[in-house]
């Protein structure tokens, strides 16, 4: 009698050989899904947890230009090439479509069409700001299609143009930013992906007339708008409390229902399959089981392609999805910027700055669901979730490109600018708390700890509006760069630490150093 082990191995070998002749290429759906997820994570890090304008990132966009008299140009070819947007050099021109006869007015994309306000339900749709960061143009469109310029008396006070320096850091250069009546906003690239121009006429949203006290329907809807193809804000405790489970629920004509839990800091989930789609909802469930659900009904006849009789124009780069991975970025070393006044290679960490984290969890294993992030991390042989206090300051604007390890956040809430400057860097210390190694880059893109390509072992978790700043820290040993004169073997035995500072400016920082192994 044979062993089960042998039988299974034989079956595997025979099956693999039989499959060998029929090897297929990578499913296009897999590549598309991977791109979408990677873009989504990049967008989350760009916008930051505190950002009220959480963009769903796409790379290639085009936008019609405006005549001198304010009227619309005829359908035109627009190249989204930009001297400021990192990805723009690869973007193909987009030919604006010519809608079929009798098509609705919103099909004419050169007229700055207004999106469908009925898609927005309790979010309260205020209007859309079209921005072209290449030309500096901006057009505000009210829900009824009336156009104006930002700053006009009729335009809500909370409508502000994005800082062009901030825009220059994004992998796209043209945005359509939709505003809710509470002043929050979500941006989508215009005409860049299979979602089309993001006008939302295929959606009609319905919400219950009354809502439990623990849920804010307007904020909940602002999370949900991302599912509908608009920009969306990240889920925070203000939406439905800290303990509620919030899910995107997608229903199909055959009765199938899919529910995807939304992580803290994440917008509503993306719909993977539109065939047979009936509705997409956002559902909040309290700990006692009480639920509140906002439902957006889907009408496939009112998508851009169906209603306008023309395919959505997608540039080649947009269709293939996402910003190209940058090449040739040379990062400067850590501990050589303004932080070097306090932290230097071969110098001890100031004892008074060694702090206890507000949260510390140690995990092992290849995959672990981090609920706050809504994504999975690899803790390997041992990693940490580490929390620390963070504060933002009124009047602090985004600082532009800073030294290695430094970054800044700025956002607007009800017209008030708020933000902070943050420094993050890993260090390795010896038994005397002397810094013997500092973080090095192996990424090609990023100058700080904000998510960069390949920088997956150290990840600031989005969704920090609740107070703490959280990091996932995995296996970071490959980031250690030995200080001059230090034996690399000593670094392998050194203790990992995290330098963290925040403040209104680089000159006014509150500093802490955390050593997760010390608990």
């Amino acid at each position: 009698m044979r062993e089960l082990r042998d039988v299974i191995h034989d079956a595997f070998d025979g099956h693999a050989r039989a499959l060998d002749g029929a090897a297929a290429g990578v499913p296009t759906t897999a590549l598309r899904e991977i791109r979408r997820r990677r873009r989504g994570r990049a967008a989350a890090s760009v916008a930051g947890a505190a950002a009220a304008c959480t963009a769903i990132a796409v790379a290639a966009v085009a936008m019609p230009t405006l005549r001198d008299d304010g009227g619309a140009l005829a359908p035109s070819t627009v190249a989204a090439e930009s001297s400021t947007a990192p990805s723009a050099a690869t973007v193909e021109p987009v030919v604006l479509p010519s809608p079929a006869a009798g098509a609705p007015a919103w099909c004419y994309l050169d007229t700055y069409p207004a999106p469908n306000a009925e898609a927005w339900g309790p979010a309260g749709y205020a209007g859309r700001l079209y921005e072209n960061y290449d030309t500096g143009e901006a057009v505000w469109v009210f829900p009824d299609g009336t156009r104006a310029e930002p700053g006009d008396p009729d335009v809500p006070d909370y409508v502000h143009r994005m800082n062009p320096e901030h825009a220059a850091t994004m992998p796209w250069s043209h945005l359509a930013i939709d505003f809710s009546t509470d002043g929050s906003a979500g941006g989508t690239a215009y005409l860049a992906g299979p979602e089309g121009p993001g006008l939302g006429y295929e959606w009609t949203t319905v919400a219950p007339e009354s809502a439990p006290e623990w849920v804010d329907p307007q904020r909940l809807m602002e999370v949900h708008t991302a599912t509908l193809g608009f920009g969306g804000t990240g889920l925070g405790p203000a939406v439905a409390g800290a303990d509620a489970v919030v899910e995107t629920v997608v229903r199909y004509a055959d009765g199938t229902e899919e529910a995807v839990r939304i992580g803290r800091g994440e917008p509503g989930a993306t719909i993977a399959e539109y065939d047979g789609l009936v509705s997409a909802s956002i559902r909040a469930t309290a700990t006692d089981g009480e639920t509140y659900e906002i439902t957006s009904h889907y009408d496939a006849t009112q998508t851009y392609e169906a209603a306008c009789g023309v395919p959505v124009p997608i540039s080649a780069a947009g269709a293939s999805g996402g910003a190209p991975e940058p090449e040739g970025f040379v990062a400067e070393p850590y501990l050589e910027g303004p932080e070097s006044a306090i932290f230097r290679c071969s110098a001890p960490v100031p004892a008074e700055l060694i702090s206890e984290p507000t949260r510390l969890e140690r995990h092992t294993g290849r995959y672990f669901d981090v609920e706050e992030a809504g994504i999975e991390f690899d803790f390997g042989e041992g990693g940490y979730i580490l929390g620390a206090p963070e504060a933002t300051y009124e009047g602090v604007e985004w600082q532009g490109r800073m030294d290695t390890g430094w970054n800044s956040t700025s956002f607007e809430r009800a017209g008030q600018v708020e933000g902070n400057v943050v420094y993050e860097a890993l260090i390795w210390v010896d038994d005397d708390d002397r810094i013997i190694a500092r973080q090095q880059h192996y990424t090609e893109e990023d100058e700080g700890l904000v998510l960069g390509y390949g920088q997956d072992d150290l990840y600031p978790i989005p969704g920090t509006q609740a107070g703490d700043r959280l990091w996932y820290i995995g296996d970071t040993s490959h980031l250690a760069l030995a200080c001059d004169g230090v034996d690399p073997d000593d670094v392998a035995q050194a203790e990992l630490g995290l330098i963290y500072g925040y403040g209104p400016s680089a000159d006014e920082m509150t500093w802490q150093v955390y050593f997760p192994e010390r608990g």
């Binding site: 089960l4 079956a11 090897a23 994570r41 690899d378």
Partner: protein, 179 residues
């Protein structure tokens, strides 16, 4: 770091049959196995991890599959959806004959039992390792394995006996994070 898309394409081109055959042990049908490979590719490559070689990528994708199967089993809706997708696939891919008797026998098991059997008898993981991977109690893993081997023994004409410690250590690659 190797750019992710060429690595995905190389992985599927060179190791696709092995990945599909492994997935088929976990889910039973070739069509469902392709779905599982798809989902595992998405899961692994959506994360910006350092993968230096196609061998390392294969190990990661394979190691992602069992937890996906377990997660699916936890969600009846997802399971129905996966079935819908398999029915919708045109043309439907028939199961290949090679090793089909074993895959049919494995399909007789509950999803958790099936995954535990593959991890134990194909990947040669220990009971504690399986429990750790799947987030299950060791006692549960042992029960699944005893029940599963009892059902498989007459179907495949194999011995019911199995050792709690593996004979070899195999398959799940070390982290390989550029150290």
């Amino acid at each position: 770091m190797v750019s992710w898309q060429p690595l995905v394409e190389q992985l599927v081109r060179e190791r696709g049959p092995r990945l599909t055959a492994y997935a088929a042990l976990l889910v039973g049908r070739d069509g469902d196995a392709e779905d599982l490979v798809h989902d595992a590719l998405v899961k692994v490559f959506s994360k910006r991890r350092r993968l230096e070689s196609v061998g390392e990528a294969e190990a990661y994708v394979r190691s992602a599959m069992p937890s996906i199967v377990i997660d699916r089993a936890r969600s009846a809706a997802s399971r129905r959806r996966a079935m819908d997708r398999s029915f919708e696939r045109e043309p439907a891919r028939p199961d290949l004959e090679a090793g089909l008797d074993v895959r049919r026998a494995l399909r007789e098991l509950a999803p958790r039992e099936q995954v535990c059997v593959v991890l134990r008898f194909f990947d040669d993981l220990t009971v504690p390792q399986i429990a750790d991977r799947l987030g299950l109690a060791q006692g549960s893993v042992k029960r699944y394995l005893y029940d599963a081997t009892a059902r498989l023994a007459p179907l495949l004409d194999v011995t019911e006996d199995w050792e709690e410690e593996p004979m070899t250590i195999d398959v799940v690659a070390a982290k390989g994070r550029g150290q």
